[in-house]
């Protein structure tokens, strides 16, 4: 049975079925992302001074990804126009480029941007202990300039100092072995104080401890976390540097400048994971959901590109029907790119 109005427009709506369907779907998507962007605005407006980070994201990488998505929107329109002109080889070329652009965007996100966050350590300092960490926070300098204070110290976690109950030593040893950690008795108290760090890599470079491992270590019976030793982020390594007072373009990773934070002074610590702060919660929710949409778009475009029934093979049988399908995926792809056009400035620049 032939379904009517797959190729030609319905007389009452002026649209073929799939186009009406995609616009209804996109309307629901606007409400979904609109709600999330509203959440972002309220969380940001309600954030206490110092609890909304700036300059943690890599602007050149984000800008590059934005350019990739904008280029892919152009190529998907060229693919559709090629089909309308019945130029099949051009369609394959432009659609292929669109798919590659989408895949490249996802690779950058999954292989570089997100993993980097889960390796990064951040500790919010208790209000009554902030003065002790002035050399890392630079709040006197910020106050003179009328800028909001800093409450977080971040960087690359090198070592954690713990006190272990000798009676629970076996459980600690199992944990250390499971996580490939090195434990060395502290010179001050060989029995109780232990400094843990992950083993060195092949080049002898210290890899440090992932913040998640430090959190799990604290849950081992008989273990009490004493202090964190880290390679500080530039903002904490040189807090009085005027360059640290404003957003920056080039991302500079943690320095080798050492910093030590007592566990008792820490209100909350974690990697830059969603639980770290409202900022990262809303960042991962929006970029994660957007990433899923990109993945869906890439898979659908791939389906229309491959020489299969319902895909590119449809060109021989009914080229206008394939053009309509590509138009629909093009509308979806433009919406996904449009969302990113809002995501990039609010998270990376502002």
């Amino acid at each position: 049975m032939q379904i009517p109005h797959e190729v030609t427009a319905r007389p009452d709506t002026g649209l073929y079925n799939a186009k009406l369907g995609i616009w209804l779907f996109l309307a629901s998507e606007v409400m979904l992302f609109g709600g999330l962007f509203s959440a972002y605005i309220f969380l940001r407006m309600g954030a206490e001074d110092g609890y909304w980070p700036h300059g943690l994201l890599n602007v050149p990488v984000g800008a590059g990804n934005t350019a990739i998505l904008i280029a892919s929107s152009v190529t998907v329109v060229l693919a559709w126009a090629s089909l309308k002109m019945r130029k099949f080889s051009q369609y394959k070329l432009w659609m292929g480029i669109s798919i590659l652009c989408g895949a490249l965007f996802l690779i950058v996100k999954l292989a570089y941007e997100w993993p980097q966050k889960f390796e990064h350590f951040g500790a919010f300092i208790k209000k009554d202990a902030i003065e002790h960490y002035e050399k890392y926070l630079g709040n006197h300098h910020l106050k003179e300039k009328g800028l909001p204070p800093r409450v977080e110290i971040s960087g690359h976690l090198h070592e954690v100092e713990i006190a272990a109950d000798p009676a629970e030593k076996e459980k600690l040893e199992v944990f250390l072995k499971q996580h490939d950690l090195e434990a060395k008795p502290d010179e001050h108290d060989a029995k109780l104080q232990i400094v843990c760090s992950e083993k060195k890599d092949k080049d002898g470079k210290r890899e440090g401890i992932r913040p998640g491992v430090a959190e799990d270590l604290e849950k081992v019976p008989g273990v009490k976390l004493i202090a964190f030793e880290l390679g500080l982020d530039p903002i904490n390594a040189a807090p009085d540097n005027p360059e640290s007072d404003k957003p920056h373009f080039l991302y500079k990773g943690p320095t080798e400048t050492p910093g030590k934070i007592e566990r008792k002074d820490v209100e909350f610590y974690s990697s830059f994971a969603p639980k770290h702060s409202s900022y990262f919660a809303v960042y991962f929710t929006i970029t994660g959901l957007h990433g899923l949409h990109v993945l869906a778009g890439v898979l659908i475009m791939l389906y229309f590109w491959l020489p299969i029934e319902g895909g590119a093979n449809m060109f021989k049988r009914n080229p206008e029907h394939l053009a309509n399908r590509v138009e629909v995926v093009g509308l979806f792809w433009h919406f996904v790119d449009l969302v990113w056009i809002f995501v990039f400035p609010i998270f990376y620049l502002l």
């Binding site: 152009v74 309308k84 373009f249 080039l250 138009e327 056009i341 620049l349």
Partner: protein, 61 residues
Amino acid sequence: MSLKAFHLFFIVLAILLAAGCAAWGFVNGLAPAFGFTCSGIAFVLVIYGVSFLKKSRKLIL
């Protein structure tokens, strides 16, 4: 709305984004090179948008 119209709307927003990024780069001398690059991209997008509009009028899209 067809893909053609949505594409034009998208290009207008992309131009605004590029212009905003250029302004961000120039403010306080944060990243002048980024500012110039974004200005260039905005300019290219304007040219592309106009040429797309002209060409799409000739084609039945």
